[in-house]
Amino acid sequence: MDESKRHSKEPKNTGQTSRSDLPFYIGFAMIGSLYVVLILAMLVADASYTSPGHIWASLKSREIQYAIRLSLLSCSLTAILSVWVAIPIGYLMSRRDFRGKALLDAILDIPIVLPPLVIGLSLLILFQTPPGRALQRFFPVTYEIPSVILAQFSVACAFAVRTLRSTFENINPRQEQVALTLGCSRSQAFWRVVLPEARRGIVAATTLAWARSLGEFGPILIFSGATRLRTEVLPTTVFLELSVGNIEAAVSVSLLMVLAAVFVLVVIRVSGAQKSIREMG
C-alpha cells in the first residue's frame, strides 16, 4: 500500500472533542498562541511605525526602486537555478544508494546550518584563490551583481534540494518501472512520469528558493558589499537605511518584504505544495 493510501486510512481529528480532553487542548493552544501572537505583534508594530505616505515616498526613491528590481531579478534567477540543480540532486538522492551517500547528504545540508556570514566569507575567499581570480579576469563576480545571485543560490539551493528530495521520495518508484516496461528509456520515464507528478514539489521548491533568496543578507553583505545602485537588494536597503537612522524607510521596505512573503505563502497554499515543504525535514 502506498504512503498516501496509508495516510488516508488514518483516523482524522474532526474537531469534536470530549469535555475531558479540553484542558489538554487548551493548554497546547495557549503555549502555541504565544508564538502566533509574537508574529502578529511584530507585523502590527511594523505597520504602526510607518504610514502609507512613508511607504509611497520610499517607493519613489531611486535607490529603493533599484533594490526592488535587483531583488526581483536575482531572486527569480536564483530560484530557477536552484530548481535546475535541485531536481537532479533530489532525484539521485531519493532513488540511488551509493558509497558516500551519507557524507554527500551532510554536505548538502551545510548551507542550511552554516551561519550566513560564514557562507559569504567562504565565497569571498573562494574567489580570491588562483582559479577564482583567473575566472574573475574574464567574468567579474565579487562585489558585482553575479555575486548577489551566487550568494543567494548558495543558501537557497539547499532548501530546494531538500524539498525536491522529499517530493521524489514520495513518488512510487514502481511507476517508473512500469514506464520502462511500456517502452520508455530511463530519461523518458523521468520526463513523462516522474516530473509531471513532482510538479507540486517543484512549485514548492521554486517559491521556497525565491523566498529564501529575498531574505538573504549575511552572505550578500560580505560577498557583494552594500553599494547603492550596484549590489543593493531589499535586505541591504533595510540595513543601509537603519545605519543612517532612516527608520521609516527601513520599516517601509520591511513591509514590502512582508507582502512578498505573504504572496509566496499564498502561492504555496494555492498550488497545494505545502505537503512537500512539511515533509522536507
Binding site: M1, R174, Q175, Q177, A179, T181, L182, E197
Partner: protein, 216 residues
C-alpha cells in the same frame, strides 16, 4: 513462452541461485510462496527490472537476458497498479502506444479494443484518482496489454481487492489470456487465484522452485 535457465539474482543480501523453470506459450503460470521468498524479485528479473548475476532468460524463443525492459515484449502489472495519477484512463491505455509512436488512428482503434475487452468504455474520460480497486487494476492491465506483449507479468494484482471484485478480475484475466494468447507469469499467495487461473503452479521455498500439479 517463458524460460529461466539457472538464473541467479541478488537484491542486497537476498540471493536466489540457479532458478530454472519454463512456461509454454499461452499458459497461465502462478508463482506461489511465502512473503520474502523472492517471488517479486524473480518476476522483476523476467521484466528486466532486476539485473541477474548468472543464467539466461528466454521469452518467445528470444534470449532477452541483456535486453532492457522496453525491448522484452512484456506487460507488467505491479501489486498496487502504479497508475500515473496525472493521467486519465484513456491516456493510460495510449501511453505505451504514444511512446512507440503508433499513428493516431491505430491508437484510437487499440484503445477501443482494450476498453471493450476490459469493460472500461464508460471510464475512458475519467481521471484514475477516483477509481475503485478493481477499476484501477483493469486500467493497469489495459496499459500493460496495449502494445500486444507476448508475456504478461502480474505481481499480486488481486491481493488488495475484495472477494467479489477478485472473482470478477479472475474472469477478466481468463478472458484476456483466451483472447490474446499471452503467456502469463502471475505471482500470488492466494490459493483461490491459483485454483481459478493456473495451468501451472510453481512454488518458491527456501530458494528452490518446484512445480506442482494445478489444484481444483
Amino acid at each position: 513462452m517463458i524460460s529461466l535457465e539457472n538464473v541467479t539474482v541478488r537484491v542486497g543480501k537476498f540471493l536466489l541461485e540457479n532458478i530454472s523453470f519454463s512456461i509454454e506459450q499461452g499458459r497461465h503460470a502462478v508463482l506461489m510462496g511465502k512473503t520474502g521468498t523472492g517471488k517479486t524479485t524473480l518476476l522483476e528479473a523476467v521484466c528486466g527490472l532486476q539485473p541477474i548475476l548468472a543464467g539466461r532468460i528466454v521469452l518467445q524463443s528470444r534470449d532477452v537476458t541483456a535486453l532492457k525492459p522496453a525491448g522484452r515484449g512484456i506487460g507488467y502489472v505491479p501489486q498496487d497498479g502504479a497508475l500515473f495519477p496525472f493521467l486519465s484512463v484513456r491516456e493510460h491505455l495510449e501511453f505505451a502506444l504514444q511512446i512507440r509512436r503508433w499513428n493516431r488512428s491505430d491508437i484510437e482503434a487499440r484503445v477501443s479494443e482494450l476498453a471493450a475487452l476490459l469493460r472500461l468504455e464508460k471510464l475512458l474520460h475519467r481521471s484514475v484518482r477516483g477509481l475503485s480497486g478493481g477499476e484501477s487494476q483493469r486500467v493497469a492491465l489495459g496499459r500493460a496489454l496495449a502494445n500486444h506483449p507476448d508475456t504478461l507479468c502480474l505481481d499480486e494484482p488481486l491481493s488488495a481487492l475484495d472477494d467479489e471484485t477478485r472473482a470478477e478480475m479472475c474472469e477478466v484475466l481468463g478472458a484476456v489470456r483466451d483472447r490474446t494468447g499471452v503467456t502469463v507469469l502471475h505471482v500470488t499467495h492466494s490459493l483461490s487465484e491459483a485454483r481459478t487461473l493456473a495451468d501451472k503452479i510453481f512454488v518458491l521455498r527456501d530458494g528452490v522452485i518446484n512445480e506442482q500439479a494445478p489444484v481444483g
